[in-house]
C-alpha cells in the first residue's frame, strides 16, 4: 500500500477558521450545481433530502395502516389496498430509506472528512449512485401508479409470480436501487483503503468508519445476490422459467434462501452504521476515550461475517430441512455475542466520564434502551421452539421495529443532531431537541410494546382483519403511532427553522476529537485547505485539542514551528 520507508513530514498547527466566508454551500450556486455536484458533502445532503422525503412517505403509509387497524374488518380502506400499502411501507422504508440512510447520507458527508481526504475515491461514481437511486425510486413510483404491488416487501413466490399487480417493475426498481447501494459500497471501501491522511492508521480510524467499512463489505457481498434473485423473479413472471414457482417445477423455499441470503445481511447494512454513530456519540458526550476500541471495531466485522451464515432463521417453519433449521438457529445466537460486547463497551465508556445530556446523547441513550430490547427479543425468536410459535406474528413486527427504528432511526436522529452544526453551520434549538427526543421515545414504546404482547398472544402479521380480543392493544398502538408522527413533524419544523434563524455554530461545539470537527462549520469546498496529519486517536479527549489541528506544512511555508514529528 505505501512506501515502507518512514518519511519525515514538516507539520504545523492549522487553527480552524470560525465563521468561514467560503464554504461548500456557497462554493457554487444554482440548482444544477447541486444536482450534478461531485462534492461528497453535497451528495450527502442530496441523499439526506431524499431519504427524509421517503421517510415521511413511508411514515404516512404506516399511519394509514395503523388507522385501518383501529377496528377489525374494514375501517377506511379495503383488504387489497391494505395489502398494497403495507407492501409499499416496507419496500419504501427498506429500499428507499433505511438502506441508504446512514451510509449514503451521513457516511457520504463525513467519511472523507474523518480521514482527512478531499473527497471519496470516485466522486463521479458517487454522483451516479445518487442518480441511480433516484431512477430506481422513479421506477418504484411507476409500479405504484401502474397497479401497485401486494406481495409484501419479501416478494415470496409463488404469490409474487401469480398476483395481478406490477411486480416486474417493482423488482426492476429494487434491482436498480441495489446497483446504487453497490456503488456506494465500492466507493467507501476504496476510499478507506487508499485515501487516509498521514498518521491515520487503522487503529486511529473513528469507529463510525469501521462500521461503514463493515457495512460496505456486506453491501458488496450481499447485494449482487439480491440482483440475481429479483432478476430470476422477473424472468419467472415474464418467461415462466420455473426456478421458484412450483406450478412450473420450481421450489418456493429456494426463493426464500435466495432472498434471505441478501436480506438478512441487509439488516446489518441497516443497523451496523447505527452502531458507529452511537460509538461517536457516547465517547464525545462522555468526553472520554472509548472503552475497548478494538472490541467495538472488530465486532462490527464479526457481525458482518456471521450475518451471512444465519439467513435461514427466517425460515424455521418454511419447510426447509430440520437439519438446516438447527444449524441456522445455532449460528444465529452468535450474532448476539459481538452485539452484546458493543453494548457493554458503550456502557463502560460512560464510567467515570463527564456526561452531558445534550440532544444527541439523549438519542444515544434511547438507542441503548430500545436496541437492547430489540436484541434480547432477537434471542427469543432465534430459539427454535419459541420461534415456531412467534414466527409471522406481531412479535416479529415489534422486534424488527425495535431494531430498525429504535436502533437505526434513533441513531440516525442522534447523528443528525450531532453533525447538524457541522453540516449546516447552524445550531438547532436544544430545548425543542430534548422535548422531541422524549416524545419520540415514549410514543415509540407506546406503538410497539403492545405489538410484542399481541404477537406472543398469537396475532399473525399482515392481517387486515383481526380477532376482537386484540382491539384494545391495536388501538393503543395506533394512538402511539399518531404521537410518534407528531414528534417527527416537530423535529422537521425546528430543524428547518434552525436553517434560517438558528444561531451560528462554532466549528466544534461538542469538543469532539475526530477529524471532521477540525474543519470549519460548514466545511470548505475541499474540506481541509491542508493535508491533515493525525497524531492521536479520535477519542483521545485527554490530549490538547490543538494537537488535533496538525497538518503538513506547505513547502513555501516558512513558519514551520515547534512540532516536527516523525510519522509513517
Amino acid at each position: 500500500m505505501a512506501d515502507n520507508k518512514a518519511q519525515t513530514l514538516k507539520i504545523r498547527e492549522f487553527p480552524v477558521e470560525e465563521n468561514p466566508e467560503h464554504t461548500y454551500l456557497n462554493a457554487e450556486k444554482g440548482i444544477w450545481s447541486w444536482l450534478f455536484t461531485v462534492d461528497h458533502k453535497r451528495i450527502g445532503l442530496l441523499y439526506l433530502f431524499s431519504i427524509t422525503l421517503f421517510f415521511f412517505v413511508g411514515g404516512l403509509l404506516a399511519l394509514l395502516l395503523r388507522t385501518e387497524l383501529l377496528t377489525p374488518a374494514q375501517s377506511i380502506i379495503d383488504a387489497d389496498t391494505y395489502n398494497q400499502i403495507f407492501t409499499l411501507h416496507g419496500a419504501i422504508m427498506i429500499f428507499l430509506f433505511i438502506i441508504p440512510s446512514i451510509p449514503a447520507a451521513l457516511g457520504n458527508f463525513f467519511l472523507p472528512m474523518m480521514i482527512g481526504a478531499k473527497d471519496v475515491a470516485f466522486p463521479r461514481l458517487n454522483l451516479a449512485s445518487w442518480w441511480i437511486y433516484i431512477f430506481g425510486a422513479l421506477f418504484a413510483l411507476y409500479s405504484i401508479i401502474t397497479g401497485a404491488v401486494d406481495t409484501g416487501w419479501t416478494f415470496y413466490t409463488p404469490y409474487s409470480t401469480q398476483t395481478g399487480t406490477s411486480v416486474v417493475s417493482m423488482t426492476f426498481a429494487v434491482f436498480i436501487l441495489g446497483f446504487s447501494s453497490i456503488l456506494t459500497g465500492i466507493n467507501f471501501i476504496v476510499t478507506l483503503h487508499k485515501l487516509r491522511s498521514p498518521g491515520l492508521s487503522w487503529s486511529r480510524m473513528p469507529l463510525f468508519l469501521w462500521s461503514l467499512y463493515a457495512t460496505a463489505i456486506i453491501q458488496i457481498l450481499a447485494t449482487p445476490i439480491l440482483a440475481i434473485t429479483v432478476l430470476l423473479l422477473a424472468m419467472e413472471r415474464i418467461l415462466g422459467i420455473g426456478i421458484f414457482d412450483p406450478t412450473m417445477g420450481g421450489d418456493p423455499v429456494l426463493y426464500q434462501h435466495f432472498f434471505w441470503f441478501y436480506s438478512h445481511p441487509a439488516v446489518y447494512i441497516m443497523i451496523v452504521p447505527a452502531f458507529g454513530i452511537i460509538s461517536e456519540l457516547i465517547s464525545t458526550f462522555s468526553r472520554k476515550t472509548i472503552f475497548g476500541y478494538w472490541a467495538i471495531a472488530l465486532s462490527s466485522l464479526a457481525i458482518a461475517f456471521i450475518g451471512f451464515l444465519v439467513w435461514g432463521h427466517h425460515m424455521f417453519v418454511s419447510g426447509q430441512s430440520e437439519l438446516s433449521s438447527v444449524v441456522f438457529s445455532f449460528l444465529t445466537f452468535f450474532v448476539g455475542v459481538p452485539t452484546g460486547i458493543k453494548i457493554f463497551n458503550w456502557v463502560a465508556t460512560m464510567y467515570k466520564g463527564s456526561i452531558d445530556l445534550k440532544t444527541p446523547m439523549l438519542y444515544a441513550l434511547s438507542f441503548l434502551f430500545l436496541f437492547t430490547i430489540g436484541g434480547l427479543t432477537g434471542i427469543m425468536i432465534g430459539a427454535l421452539s419459541v420461534n415456531v410459535h412467534l414466527h409471522d406474528t406481531y412479535y416479529i413486527v415489534a422486534h424488527f421495529h425495535y431494531v430498525m427504528m429504535g436502533g437505526t432511526v434513533i441513531a440516525l436522529l442522534g447523528g443528525l443532531h450531532y453533525w447538524w452544526p457541522k453540516m449546516t453551520g447552524r445550531m438547532y434549538n436544544e430545548l425543542w431537541g430534548r422535548i422531541t427526543c422524549g416524545i419520540i421515545f415514549v410514543s415509540f414504546n407506546m406503538t410497539f410494546l403492545p405489538q410484542f404482547i399481541m404477537g406472543s398472544q398469537g396475532m399473525p402479521r399482515r392481517y387486515f382483519n383481526y380477532v376482537d380480543q386484540f382491539q384494545g392493544l391495536h388501538q393503543f398502538s395506533t394512538i402511539g403511532s399518531y404521537i410518534l408522527g407528531l414528534g417527527f413533524m416537530i423535529m422537521l419544523v425546528y430543524l428547518v427553522w434552525s436553517l434560517f434563524y438558528g444561531p451560528k455554530a462554532s466549528s466544534n461545539p461538542w469538543k469532539a476529537r475526530s477529524l471532521e470537527w477540525m474543519a470549519s462549520s460548514p466545511p470548505a469546498h475541499h474540506n481541509f485547505e491542508y493535508t491533515p496529519v493525525i497524531l492521536h486517536g479520535p477519542y483521545d479527549h485527554h490530549q490538547p485539542i490543538r494537537e488535533f489541528h496538525m497538518g503538513v506544512a506547505k513547502e513555501a511555508d516558512e513558519q514551520t514551528t515547534e512540532a516536527e514529528r516523525e510519522t509513517t
Partner: protein, 315 residues
C-alpha cells in the same frame, strides 16, 4: 409473575405448550434481569458522572481484559442454554409419534379443507380427539399458507409442491382458532378455521354422525351451512357489498357480464359451473382466483348452495 405470562401467552392447550412456554419465560426473565442491569447501570452513570464543568478531566481507560472476557463468556453460556432448550422443543415439535391420528389438510386461497382417514371432509372446521396425537399432512393448492394454532404452539408452512407435516396433542376439550400465518393475498386475514377438540367418545360419535350429510335438512338450510363451512363467506357477502367476489344477494336470475364481454344468465346451470369450473366464466371486474369445488362438495351440498342463493333472491 405467573399472571403476567398467562396474560402474554394464549392458553396452553397442547402437550408441547408448557415446554415452549417455559423457554419463553426463561428468556423473558433472564432478558429482563440483563436489561434492567444495563439500564440501572446507565442511570447510575448518568447521574453520578454528570458533567460538572467544561473542564472535567476523565481518566483514560482503554480496556479491561477480565471484564471483557466476562461479558463475552457469560452471554455465550446463556445462548448455548437457550439454543439447546429451543432445540429440544423443536425436536418434539418436528417428530410426530408414529401412532398419531392423521388428517390431510389442504389449504387454498382462502379456506382450509380437512380430510379424515375414513373419507369424510370438513371445511374451515376440524374435529380432533383430546389426549391423542394428531398429525396434519398438509398441502397447498396455490400459494404458500401457514397453519398456525396459537393455543397449541404449532405452526408450519403449507407448500404447493410437497407435503409438510405438523402434529399436536390437545390436552383439553373446547375450541381453538387456526390462523393462516403466511401472507397469501386478499383474503389472508379471513383464512381462519376452528379446531374442535372433542373427548374420545364424542369424537368417535362425531365421526359416525357429524360427517354424514343430514339427509333430512332442507336444501336451502344445508346450503346456508355450506356457505360458511366451505369458506364461501371469505370472498362473497350476502348483503350486496363487494368483497373479493361479487355479492350473492340478488344474484340469481340476473345477467352476468363476463370478462370476455359475453353475457350469461345466472341460472342453476351457471351457478353449478361457477362452483365446479370457476375460471371458465369469470364475472367482469373480479379477479379470476376462485378455486374449484369439484370433488370438495357433494351433489347435495351443490344443490343446497344453489337453493340457498335462489332464496336470497326471494327475500
Amino acid at each position: 409473575m405467573n399472571r403476567i405470562f398467562e396474560y402474554l401467552l394464549p392458553p396452553q392447550r397442547s402437550t408441547v405448550a408448557s415446554e415452549v412456554d417455559s423457554l419463553f419465560t426463561f428468556i423473558n426473565v433472564t432478558g429482563f434481569i440483563l436489561f434492567m442491569g444495563i439500564m440501572i447501570t446507565i442511570l447510575i452513570f448518568v447521574i453520578k458522572y454528570r458533567r460538572k464543568s467544561e473542564d472535567d478531566v476523565t481518566p483514560v481507560i482503554t480496556h479491561n481484559s477480565i471484564l471483557e472476557v466476562t461479558w463475552t463468556v457469560i452471554p455465550i453460556i446463556l445462548i448455548l442454554i437457550v439454543f439447546s432448550w429451543g432445540f429440544r422443543g423443536f425436536l418434539t415439535l418436528s417428530t410426530p409419534p408414529s401412532n398419531a391420528y392423521e388428517i390431510n389438510v389442504t389449504a387454498a386461497a382462502w379456506f382450509w379443507e380437512f380430510r379424515y382417514p375414513d373419507g369424510g371432509t370438513t371445511m374451515n372446521e376440524v374435529y380432533v380427539p383430546v389426549d391423542r396425537p394428531v398429525k396434519f399432512i398438509m398441502r397447498s393448492d396455490d400459494y404458500l399458507h401457514s397453519m398456525y394454532i396459537p393455543d397449541f404452539r404449532v405452526k408450519m408452512d403449507v407448500l404447493p409442491n410437497r407435503y409438510t407435516t405438523a402434529w399436536f396433542e390437545a390436552t383439553d376439550t373446547g375450541q381453538s382458532l387456526l390462523f393462516c400465518a403466511e401472507y397469501c393475498g386478499t383474503g389472508h386475514s379471513d383464512m381462519l378455521a376452528t379446531v374442535h377438540v372433542l373427548s374420545g367418545n364424542d369424537f368417535e360419535e362425531w365421526l359416525e354422525t357429524g360427517l354424514e350429510v343430514d339427509e333430512d335438512m332442507p336444501l336451502a338450510e344445508l346450503g346456508e351451512q355450506t356457505f360458511t363451512s366451505a369458506g364461501c363467506n371469505a370472498c362473497h357477502t350476502l348483503d350486496g357489498t363487494d368483497r373479493i367476489g361479487p355479492s350473492l344477494a340478488g344474484l340469481f336470475g340476473t345477467d352476468r357480464e363476463l370478462d370476455d364481454g359475453s353475457v350469461v344468465e345466472a341460472d342453476e346451470d351457471y351457478l353449478r359451473r361457477s362452483l365446479l369450473d370457476p375460471q371458465a366464466e369469470v364475472t367482469a371486474g373480479y379477479p379470476a382466483n376462485m378455486p374449484s369445488y369439484a370433488g370438495r362438495l357433494n351433489e347435495r351440498q351443490i344443490d343446497g348452495l344453489i337453493a340457498f342463493i335462489k332464496e336470497l333472491q326471494d327475500e
